[in-house]
Symmetry: C2
Subunit: 238 residues, 2 copies
């Protein structure tokens, strides 16, 4: 039945899984060290309670900026986690968001509920507060599934890049040492978001082809969220 | 900041988008007619407020059964809708779920907050309460995108079926009059979930091949939810 003062209601939070790529070829995630109980001193995802007047997405971006300094990030809704026992404070339902950024473009600075902020390799995580390890696992899975049907790399690579560089980006995200080069090239060119821009110059080895992203085509495919799936659903490519 | 009696919190609801298929080759959705304000007399998605002690999924299944009599449905989380203005009663955040069922296996009966319950063709909808038209549009888009990468049809077709019957099911879901037959066959066989079971007998025309679903392979692919994406992400097929 509808909530009244007699019937308590759950609390709502948002949590952010911000993945980062850099030159290390290791997929990283942004974590904060909690400054308050519960789980004080534990590492956790940035996040917090949703205000009454803001959208969920705005709440996620606000908490992210307040706790880590990170802003101007394209986030997507991941999943809503509502198991009754997930938070010792009581019934807290969390709407999780995720993003993939170029680590170098986002300096971090802890503030608000965060004592420290740091990038961690996703396969070298500390113990996390609440059910954040589970949220993170779901986010990693979503990111890896997403690269199968949406192009990535636009903000993460230089303006001109080789297919080897793009392949390395995929290998980093997928956490695999090496993808089959020929298959990768076939599939990535089939996505139709790359433009040949001419061969490398001034290199000792055989010059590789340089590519750039066809920005319009890329954005048409890459920026889709569930809200846009209706349009895409009609473009079933059979 | 965390909620206290001084700082109100949003309410949480769940909403269910139950798609149904029957012999009509028109994709349908289950709607209820609201028996209370707001939007009394309007058609809407079945749903309601989440109790403090139940998971979101259990809340969705409970409200669905209470309002429509429908049960034993495999639901998946669709998206969480949290725009501040979406509900005139105040701040209500709704976690939406969806499912696809064989209409004939689910008799419906209105009860609780529902005055009536009925299946509607998705392209012949009445005006809906709240933002349910938007939720429904997102659900249709998700269903249509989902059929691109996960097999469907197991509960919806007879045990033995022809590729034409399976193609018709896809055409119904996608809302297209006709898919390219050769492309469809190639792609559907490539999914690897079908088994040839021998040709039709006793038909006037040229007997078509009958297929069944390889249940194990099918379930491995079809029952995945976001919680399972981590595993699938590792199986990147490059």
């Amino acid at each position: 039945m509808p909530y009244t003062y007699e019937y308590p209601r759950p609390s709502m939070t948002v949590d952010c899984v911000i993945f980062g790529l850099d030159q290390s070829h290791k997929l990283k995630v942004l974590l904060i060290q909690r400054d308050h109980a519960p789980f004080e001193g534990h590492w956790a995802l940035p996040g917090g309670f949703v205000d009454m007047d803001e959208s969920l997405e705005r709440a996620a971006l606000r908490e992210l900026e307040e706790e880590t300094g990170v802003r101007d990030v394209f986030i997507e809704q991941l999943y809503t986690f509502g198991s009754p026992g997930r938070d010792p404070r009581g019934r807290v339902v969390s709407v999780a968001y995720y993003a993939l950024v170029n680590l170098g473009e986002h300096p971090v600075k802890a503030a608000s509920d965060a004592r420290k902020v740091e990038w961690f390799e996703v396969d070298q995580l500390p113990e996390l507060a609440f059910d954040h390890a589970q949220i993170l696992a779901v986010a990693v899975g979503r990111l890896r599934a997403k690269v199968r049907y949406q192009p990535i790399g636009f903000e993460l690579l230089p303006e001109l890049f080789t297919l080897s560089q793009l392949q390395q980006l995929y290998e980093t995200i997928l956490g695999v040492a090496e993808l089959n080069k020929r298959n990768f090239r076939t599939r990535i060119l089939k996505m139709g978001v790359l433009r040949e821009m001419g061969r490398q110059e001034g290199v000792a080895h055989r010059p590789a082809m340089l590519y750039s992203f066809d920005k319009e085509k890329y954005e048409q495919l890459a920026k889709e969220r569930y809200e846009d799936l209706l349009r895409r659903g009609v473009d079933f490519e059979i």
